[in-house]
């Protein structure tokens, strides 16, 4: 009897702590973004609510916030799509066909996923300069596809390996080729897995910072994390209200994704980390 009361109390305080731990920074971000003065907490200025910060950053032509957001979304969507697609092709061959290199490819790719980005970015900068891709979407799309491949391959492998090979045999007898089998049978059945993969790589690409910092120069290709990180005021004082409003704008798409696709994201994360 006493033990259950203690456990209930522990659980309750745990939940309160968990919520405070996760959400306080967001409450603070929202509050500052909506207030006239960022220093309302520790000075004589009272908290005055205003939408001015949002109006300023969304309408000012020198801020480019929405351009950064658009760049981020286009680059991340493209990278997530191709990463998932290329990994599916490879995973199909690895789970269905016998060929030399079957085991080596996923293991080598798993090792690749642990390469620190700093050991890639220096030379990548040279490569992109040589290709003339600095400050274009390509400079980020191709590296992001590559960064996503190991995770994508391992998740797709775990989905494809659960499907019976009888499916393929039947389709082969009906005269379908391998690509058609993947496209018309295997991928549609594994759609939840492909969607998890797509979501995760979208989020990872949206989050990426070092490549975006080094391979872009301005609003033509700069992504929103870099845009907000480098956002400074013109007059020496840090415009906290603008920055927090920008952070809120960048956070909204992510919060929506998680709210609607929580199940897929969690599935992908656990497949990728534990099986991989």
């Amino acid at each position: 009897m006493r033990e259950t009361t203690v456990i209930k109390l522990l659980k309750f305080s745990g939940i309160v702590f968990l919520l405070i731990f996760c959400l306080t920074p967001f409450v603070w971000m929202l509050l500052v973004s909506l207030s006239k003065h960022p220093d309302f907490l520790l000075s004589q200025t009272p908290l005055e609510l205003t939408l001015n910060n949002y109006i300023q950053i969304l309408t000012s032509s020198s801020v480019h916030l929405l351009t950064y957001l658009r760049n981020s979304i286009i680059i991340s969507l493209t990278a997530a799509f191709f990463s998932t697609f290329l990994a599916s092709l490879s995973a199909y061959a690895i789970t269905r066909l016998t060929f030399p290199g079957r085991v080596v490819i996923p293991v080598v790719l798993l090792a690749v996923s642990m390469f620190p980005q700093i050991s890639i970015v220096g030379y990548l900068f040279k490569l992109m300069t040589w290709l003339g891709w600095i400050n274009t979407y390509y400079a980020l799309i191709f590296p992001y596809i590559t960064l996503g491949l190991p995770l994508a391959l391992w998740i797709m492998l775990s989905y494809f390996s659960r499907l019976s090979k009888e499916l393929d045999k039947a389709a082969l007898i009906d005269g379908a080729n391998r690509f058609q089998i993947l496209q018309k049978i295997i991928l549609p059945i594994s759609l939840p897995g492909a969607f998890s993969t797509f979501m995760l790589i979208f989020i990872y690409s949206f989050n990426e910072f070092l490549f975006a910092l080094m391979l872009t120069i301005d609003y033509k290709a700069r992504t929103i994390p870099v845009g907000i990180a480098l956002f400074e005021g013109l007059h020496g004082q840090i415009p906290w209200g603008y920055i927090m409003a920008g952070a809120v704008v960048a956070t909204i798409p992510m919060v929506l994704l998680i709210t609607f696709f929580q199940k897929y994201i969690i599935q992908g994360l656990t497949e990728g980390a534990i099986k991989g």
Binding site: L41, L89, N207
Partner: protein
């Protein structure tokens, strides 16, 4: 029949390579080429406006002789140990909580994923404001609760900056730990707990005798996964402290980055190779333990 079979296999092999070609090609160009390029560059004097020159291990000798490099190594290692341990600790607690049937579990799972999904560079700016000397949330509590009668310089002192980075990193990555550990918890059969309860064990005994031992493989994998990730920390520090004060919070990645962007490519590459080697060492461990788990299964 025999002939037919060989024919079939040949076609299968051709198909297999066709299916794998795009993945292999992209990985070769955008990962392997740059990594090898970085390794080669590290043996060269590669400075803007000067002709490149092979100098052997000179860059590495310079690294070993630089006290700032050692400061970076020290910071990186201490940071990894402190933050990953805290993440593991909180991850286990949160996972145990979310594994229970509690009201609002769905909402909590969303709440816990948000810090993980927001770009670090963006949440780091929010933390920067939270640690603000004049009007940040931390100093508000420090003053109101009477912990000190003066505001604390969170980002301006070595210890303050270190703990600020650790707190923000723990906030950002504990959700990942929680999700992984939660998946591990869900594989433990409820019957074990029921039996243990009949045997009259208490909550702590059940945790240490059942949960922890069965969770060990998942914990090892999560731990190594996070460690490899933490060793390459860059964006959080870049935004939050810029490596300061006095270079005391410069992780190895930032140390290398500073040289790469200032035009000393050879030296920056050598520093990058060190980060690579550290991660590789851990990666070998990770793959070993990962397979170990598969075999057990």
């Amino acid at each position: 029949m025999q002939l037919n079979k060989i024919e079939f296999n040949k076609k299968e092999i051709r198909d297999a390579y066709l299916f794998n070609a795009p993945l292999i090609l992209i990985a070769l160009i955008f990962i392997f080429l740059p990594v090898i390029g970085t390794l080669i560059t590290s043996f060269f004097r590669d400075v803007t406006f000067l002709p490149g020159k092979f100098i052997g291990l000179e860059n590495y000798k310079r690294l070993i002789g630089d006290s700032h490099f050692w400061q970076s190594v020290e910071f990186t290692l201490i940071f990894v140990i402190v933050s990953v341990s805290l993440e593991l600790f909180f991850g286990v607690i949160f996972a145990l909580l979310l594994n229970e049937t509690i009201p609002g579990r769905g909402f909590m799972r969303v709440a816990i994923l948000i810090p993980w999904a927001i770009p670090v560079a963006i949440s780091a700016r929010v933390w920067q404001l939270i640690y603000n000397y004049d009007f940040g949330v931390f100093n508000y509590f420090v003053l109101k609760l009477g912990i000190s009668n003066q505001p604390v310089s969170w980002l301006g002192t070595t210890a303050g900056a270190f703990f600020s980075i650790v707190i923000s990193d723990v906030w950002k990555t504990t959700p990942f730990m929680t999700i992984i550990i939660l998946a591990g918890l869900s594989t433990i059969s409820n019957d074990l707990y029921k039996q243990a309860m009949i045997d009259g064990t208490n909550f702590l005994q059940r945790f240490f005798r059942i949960t922890l031992p069965l969770l060990k493989p998942v914990l090892v994998v999560a731990l190594l996964f996070r460690t490899i990730d933490a060793i390459r920390i860059f964006d959080l520090v870049y935004v939050l402290t810029g490596g300061g004060p006095g270079g005391s919070t410069t992780p190895l990645s930032l140390y290398a980055y500073d040289y790469l962007v200032s035009g000393d490519f050879g030296y920056g590459s050598a520093a990058s190779v060190i980060v690579f080697l550290l991660a590789a060492l851990l990666a070998i461990l990770y793959i070993k333990f990962g397979q170990f788990k598969e075999v057990v299964k």
